[in-house]
């Protein structure tokens, strides 16, 4: 027991359910609640001088933090971020000055510890004004490293994050981890669009033929999915190696590369107009999906994305529309 009542103790090792949970979150499996109850948690055997680490109540954030604190005695103050990760919550202001101040007060942090320091993840800085927290509660905000795994080095350096610890990087593995988030962006369209294409593929000059539908089923599905995957899997994976800065242009490049492969694989069309139509559709689709990856990337600015979209979005729509019209016309030629 402490001055402020019973405090739950948490493990610093992940068990099977934590790992499986992390996988489920990344792949958006199920819409179950994945949050931690806000409040104070004890790690190790903390006392009145132990450090206080603040995080949001998105379970993955909490899990990364408690794992990083293995072998350290400390307190974790979980604030209410509605189950959203630190970075997003800070951007929206959910992980903000007000909530930090409120939690310090309702959990009586000033009675739990003697010092007046709290450590916040650096990525919460867009939402938290350190000087205001200090003014309102007396607690000094110290921004820790971007990654929880650097916490030990940060503590050893006397609560100082090096330049590298403060930088957001965007390595290959991180990009791959974010792909599943985008993969299901289209959700229902992923099924509906190919089905519409299947239905339409039955039309020809002499009316409607189910045989045609079956003949075309494989090809149209392969083409559509290839365009989709070119944009939301291939483009992020090889992002730095594709020319152009605009994500939409990068997506167009990979889309067309894939389309060229499909052309040789023979899944595109039988006529020139059908082939051109597929190039337009796959290019437009891939470009659009790639542009959506700006949301997962860690270096695109709002002004930049707005500027890019102003030209890219109309072009993508025109490409897709021309492609669809061309493809339908090619049915009847």
């Amino acid at each position: 027991m402490t001055q402020v009542g019973a405090i739950p103790y948490v493990a610093t090792r992940w068990d099977f359910y934590d790992r499986w949970g992390a996988v489920k979150v990344r792949w958006s499996l199920g819409r179950f609640k994945y949050r931690v109850t806000p409040g104070i948690y004890a790690v190790g055997n903390p006392g009145r001088d132990s450090l206080v680490f603040v995080t949001g109540n998105y379970k993955l954030s909490f899990d990364h933090l408690r794992r990083a604190l293995k072998g350290i005695d400390g307190w974790i103050l979980v604030i209410e971020t509605k189950g959203i990760n630190v970075w997003c919550a800070a951007g929206k202001g959910t992980f903000g000055t007000k909530e930090v101040v409120r939690r310090i007060r309702i959990h009586h942090l000033d009675q739990l510890v003697d010092h007046r320091k709290i450590i916040l993840p650096q990525l919460s800085a867009p939402g938290v004004a350190a000087h205001d927290v200090k003014k309102m509660t007396g607690f000094t905000v110290i921004y820790g490293p971007v990654l929880a795994e650097d916490i030990r080095a940060f503590l050893n350096a006397g609560l100082k994050a090096t330049d590298d610890m403060r930088k957001i990087t965007f390595p290959f593995v991180e990009r791959l981890k974010l792909i599943p988030v985008d993969l299901f962006y289209g959700k229902y369209y992923l099924l509906i669009v190919p089905i519409v294409f299947l239905i339409l593929s039955g039309f020809n000059r002499s009316g409607y033929s189910l045989d045609l539908v079956f003949d075309n089923a494989g090809k149209t599905t392969v083409n559509l999915f290839s365009g989709y995957l070119a944009g939301c899997v291939l483009t992020p994976a090889i992002l730095p190696w594709i020319p152009f800065r605009r994500f939409s242009a990068k997506g167009l490049v990979t889309g067309w590369l894939v389309a060229i492969l499909l052309l040789f694989a023979g899944t595109l069309g039988l006529t020139l107009i059908e082939n051109i139509s597929w190039f337009l559709m796959i290019g437009g689709l891939s470009s659009f999906m790639a542009m959506n990856f700006t949301g997962s990337s860690t270096f695109t600015s709002l002004s930049g994305v707005q500027k890019e979209m102003k030209t890219a979005l109309p072009l993508q729509i025109v490409m897709a529309a021309l492609g669809i019209i061309g493809w339908i016309i090619s049915r009847f030629l």
Partner: protein, 98 residues
């Protein structure tokens, strides 16, 4: 990350050096090493690295920094367009975009 620069000359970041007291907070919170300190004043070193997250402006006690912050995310901008609001990523409860 030094290897990644998005579009150049679009960022809305502004620094008013006259107000700056050299506290270094902007250097600490910026995730892209945009700021440096020279002669006890903040300077913008790498303007095009800025992703407009707003952390520097929020944490500058002197109000020396302004930036139009928001989510640099195409899906968010489309969301905003459709609803006629500011760009908003639809990170509702249970979803995990961004």
């Amino acid at each position: 990350m030094n290897g990644f620069v998005y579009l150049t000359d679009v960022v809305t970041l502004e620094l008013d050096a006259a107000k700056c007291n050299g506290c270094r907070m902007c250097v600490v919170v910026c995730p892209h090493n945009v700021f440096g300190i020279e002669a006890k004043k903040a300077v913008i070193l790498h303007r095009d690295f800025c992703m407009e997250c707003g952390a520097c402006a929020k944490n500058c006690s002197e109000g020396a920094i302004t930036v139009k912050s928001g989510v640099g995310c195409a899906a968010g901008i489309i969301n905003g367009l459709l609803r006629g609001t500011e760009p908003t990523c639809d990170c509702g409860e249970g979803s995990n975009c961004c």
